[in-house]
Point group: C2
Chain length 472, copies 2
């Protein structure tokens, strides 16, 4: 996951007010809620069959094993890399061999950034080699590095107050971790704000809920008219230490070397496969995760897990010989980590069919044991979703939360399409997110089984119900 | 902490049977347990005063602040390093400035090992730079490194079964984490067992309860007559990945480079300070922690915390104007991580006075919120210790567990002296132990306050009671 676009669902509603009413096919449904409830209840046996196959049957641990094989084989898959290209080729073949339909690749131009060699050494008050990870899109330093005194701040407000001290220095942000969507602003905007006050570089405390001296990378954004300065994340531990040193009046000097480079855009693809609908094949329920990752760890959690439970949802439905009335479409996005590049391209290419999208789903915040489903949509649609989730009583995951979202599906949600995502242990997620620790060791096959069951039941039932989900 | 010598208290009793009866001064006490109980109860106000000063009063957060200043200033303090030397000098000055008595240094010859530059790169089945930490006392590789195929095993038993496959290879141990004292055998003996079957090097899964791709170092031991091979720890993540790769039949090749070197023994010191006893100055209650650490992180937890709550115990007692009947002796050990070198030297120098040691205490498994006190001693002594711990009711820490121990005090405990240590969150402790993550970020000032209060109350009351703790 790159960063959360919404912190509350209200934003979504503002957008959807502007969407054309003409696209709401089924807001004239004459069915009573009781009738819908009864329709959902008739999926009880199908839901049990999906759950049994995923959690207790021959498909158990399949999504974990498939994911382990891919990420052990190709490793991390950053935007523009050979390994992402290889992963897309492998997935294209996997989906065909799995017997899915209409397997194809949709072209996307994506950014290509490489970190190169990088290091940061504290020279004063004592020699200390620091773990760092350059931030995506950052420029590098000159080959001899940047050696400068440090100004430690704990907030943008403090930086403003002490703007005159920042000139010619390396700004270190030691912002506390509040939650991801708030705190990530320091990673995204830290370099720009530091450059505005004349800093030579910025080092940002990793946006993480937990640390064993682990730097956490991610995208950052330059601004037109503001000088580009090199920027990297440092560990929570080093940020806190420098903060203590500064508060004691120590002069801190760091030598920062970064070989980071931005290359011309690369060719890539969103990877698509379907189970074509039996009655309304033009109508779609979209399930998705992203195939790219950061260039450290294995991208097993972010977002291998989301991509592979999405594939698993289609595999489970196919294995049971089910074919929903609507088309179930799997999309494995490319270059999500660069700001949803693949998702945006897909939206541009397909938005003329927006009236045919019943539900868009993306899992990109972990596939641990889900607490429930996050959902954005009309209250009528939410009521239906709550009914659907009762089908997951056998695995005790029935809650529907607010704010379904995902970088790649937010374009659709903003335009009024109902959207769903999985909610699980975010503390765990942000302990490993964008770090060397995002590996298969974090993943649990049994938890992935359950997440896949939730994903398959929701997508199948919504794709098969007589009517599309109502919009606003 | 280096490694646990005892897994159950029975071992201690075996040793103590061989100790001369003559040293048990007070096994002829005519006092009833009721009288002892009443004596302990009279310390209620003193205990409250200590707790108030440490947890709520002007001394709160002092041990944390003192520790942060030291470890931020000198960094990690490996045996034989300049930084350990500097830390000892600073502490000598600190203890004098604190107004403690008989502050002095006792010479110890200690090992001097340096890891130098080190790297491990997986060349097959894909290129992957691995995080490693060479193990203490390991030899290095030739400058060009050792490039060899890998044999992955999950136990010494599997290595024996597959002994013929090991020749000329790098043995990777992917042993599961059971508990520290069991699993650490792979770190300590892994190289010797691999060398016995002809391996060129060994890489050992870090002995850790949790990992964010964090290698955990520690001591390892060569054996006479067995070839010395280079050995390092790898992350849990890489050990598990190579295990999966091997189970799929992948050929794994690693290039290992280690610049590790053993240098001649260095001069060092145990650092000692006292509050001299008012009535039985020759009798001793010893409180301690070790000042050396591994060469990564800050050695804040292992064992900065233990050393600094031990200092804090004396500071609190002095600040309250208390002087116990027996001498309260603080020892900050050197080179514990090399196998209790400082502790052994101290025992050799002082064991002729063993009959004067009422209690030996070492905190070396974390100074988080204590669950209680671990204690080794006679049942009569345990009953007294349980009474003493009731004095800590105001902070709700009253439990006395079995198996008090510490690398540096075990020499005394084996010879029959009662021994105590702090028990706290071992899962947390072994998440950071011997890793880059052992920094001040792990430490909590409020938890250190409470740990120091427990340490001070126990040491003061035992030092001040009319009789020494009874032995077997």
């Amino acid at each position: 996951m790159k960063f959360l676009l919404f912190t509350f669902v209200g934003v979504v509603h503002l957008f959807s007010l502007n969407s054309g009413k003409a696209i709401y096919k089924n807001d004239n449904s004459q069915r009573t809620f009781q009738e819908i409830k009864e329709e959902v209840a008739r999926y009880g046996d199908v839901a049990k069959a999906i759950i049994n196959l995923a959690v207790y049957g021959k498909a158990q641990n399949r999504s974990y094993e498939r994911l382990a094989l891919l990420v052990d084989t190709v490793g991390p898959r950053p935007s523009g890399s050979k390994s992402l290209e290889k992963a897309i080729q492998i997935m294209y073949q996997n989906l065909q061999e799995d017997g899915l339909e209409n397997v194809h690749l949709e072209p996307v131009k994506i950014p290509h950034w490489e970190r190169g060699e990088e290091s940061a050494v504290m020279l004063e008050p004592r020699i200390h080699k620091m773990a760092i990870l350059g931030l995506g899109s950052s420029i590098g330093t000159p080959p001899e590095g940047i050696t400068a005194e440090v100004l430690v701040v704990t907030s943008f407000e403090e930086l403003q107050r002490r703007a005159r001290e920042a000139r010619g220095k390396i700004v270190v942000y030691n912002q506390p971790y509040v939650n991801y969507s708030k705190t990530v602003q320091y990673r995204v905007q830290g370099a720009v704000e530091a450059a505005k006050v004349g800093a030579l570089a910025s080092l940002i405390r990793s946006v993480a809920s937990f640390s064993v001296y682990s730097p956490h990378t991610g995208i950052q954004e330059y601004q037109d008219g503001v000088p580009k300065i090199p920027t990297a994340c440092i560990t929570v531990e080093d940020a806190e230490m420098m903060s203590r040193m500064a508060s004691r009046g120590n002069r801190i000097v760091i030598q920062l070397k970064m070989g980071a480079k931005n290359y011309p855009d690369a060719d890539s693809f969103n990877t698509v496969a379907e189970i074509i609908g039996s009655k309304y094949p033009e109508q779609v329920v979209l399930v998705s995760g992203h195939l790219d990752s950061w260039d450290v760890g294995q991208g097993a959690m972010d977002d291998g897990g989301g991509a592979f439970i999405s594939w698993e949802a289609l595999s489970l439905i196919k294995d049971l010989g089910l074919r929903p009335k609507r088309t179930l479409r799997l999309v494995l996005w490319t270059a999500e980590e660069q700001g949803g590049i693949g998702g945006f391209q897909y939206y541009q290419s397909h938005k003329e069919n927006i009236s045919n999208y019943s539900l868009v789903m993306e899992s990109d915040e972990g596939t641990f044991l889900p607490s429930g489903l996050q959902f954005t949509g009309s209250e009528k649609a939410r009521a239906i979703m709550e009914e659907v989730m009762t089908l997951l009583q056998p695995v005790n995951i029935t809650q529907v939360f607010r704010a379904g979202e995902g970088t790649d599906i937010n374009f659709w949600i903003q335009a009024g399409v109902p959207g769903a995502s999985l909610l699980d242990d975010l503390y765990k997620y942000f302990s490993f997110h964008h770090s060397h620790g995002d590996t298969m060791t974090v993943m649990d096959p049994k938890q992935m089984n359950v997440a896949a069951a939730v994903w398959a039941v929701v997508s199948y039932v919504i794709a098969d119900m007589e009517e599309m989900l109502p919009r606003s």
